[in-house]
Amino acid sequence: PPPSTLDLTREEYLRYSRQLLLPQIGLPGQTALKRSRVLIVGIGGLGSPAALYLAGAGIGTLGLIDHDVVETSNLHRQVLHRTSTIGLPKVLSAAKALRDLNPHVQITTYAEAFTPGNAEDVIAQWDVVLDCTDHPKLRYLISDACVLLGKPLVSASALKLEGQLIVLNDPPGKGPCYRCIWPRPPPPESIISCGEGGVLGPVVGAMGVMQALETIKLITRPKGKELTQPRMLFFSAAAETMWRTLKMRGRREGCVACGQQGIKNLGSEEEYALFCGVPNAFAL
């Protein structure tokens, strides 16, 4: 349906007035945001700022999925959580903060791991997915599920002083998927987590904020304004030129997920774990 002034309450007009002023948003953009359903997988260093800015902007329904609880060592970078919510499931800690930031946003929480068992049922409920997780097996699984269900995916990662961001399967069925860019997983001995390698808060924070921005751009852009050249945003806090925009390849014809012979259903937990060389599956 076309946007109508009836779509926003008086309080919402006031609340969003500073972005309603922007010609790139305006009433059509704001109603598109309000009607959209965005899922954030992982409410940690990336998910915290992404959720804050998406809730602030007035996404209609935000989904949060994470099976972790808040820990002290999260708080230097996971700025959505609080010392007083240590021990709570992250999705509950986050929902509390987000509802107080913007009560107009509906929050749906999944206090569970994202697995091949629930991936399709969960992803099917949402319009856009943010990958804010921290392991390649989850990254392949989320991408496969987004390809299978035709959802665009805003994927970011960070470690130490560096970060990467790419919008995948956008538009669905046309843009490259995670497997187009990385057809084979890295060897397990090369995989370093934030727990092992460390990460600086504002580095992962900047990547999460950029995920929120890309999501808002994706939801509010005019039809036909999809970018054709995939780009990766690459960040390095120690480099002289901290931010670089890298031109990436498009869809890979022979991609096992999104290619002509594409994916028909997700693999099992064991298959994703084996593919990425990690034995203890989705319990990480």
Binding site: G44, R139, L159, P183, P186, P187, G197, K247, M248
Partner: protein, 117 residues
């Protein structure tokens, strides 16, 4: 045509100046140095053809890399899975991958994929 023109060309070694950059942790395999200014021969001695990025990868693994775990950079003669190669900020798959012929001033960036969040 004067006789000297018939002689084989003098073995002039021309070199191509390039910049190589490592990130995403790969710099740790290369003396923890992010950026290298290198000169590579314009002709690959093993093929007698113009020097490609494929040559550069082998050269880096053999002569520049200090870490003994070569498999963290090269597997079966190619860059290992999980490393993106960017030539002048474009994915090398847009440029012909290993076949890409190096040009003076090229910047080649090796990025290890990050997974943290």
């Amino acid at each position: 045509m004067p006789a000297e023109a018939m002689a084989p060309p003098a073995a002039e070694t021309k070199t191509i100046p390039i910049t190589v950059e490592f990130s995403g942790g790969l710099e740790l395999l290369f003396k923890n140095q992010r950026t290298y200014k290198l000169s590579v021969p314009d002709v690959d001695p093993s093929t007698n053809a113009a020097t490609t990025v494929g040559y550069l990868v082998k050269h880096l693994a053999a002569d520049v890399m200090v870490d003994a775990r070569k498999e963290l950079f090269v597997v079966e003669g190619s860059v290992r899975p999980g490393i993106l190669v960017l030539i002048n900020d474009a994915d090398w798959e847009l440029e012909g991958e290993e076949e890409y012929v190096l040009q003076p001033g090229d910047a080649v960036l090796f990025v290890s994929t990050l997974h943290g969040g």
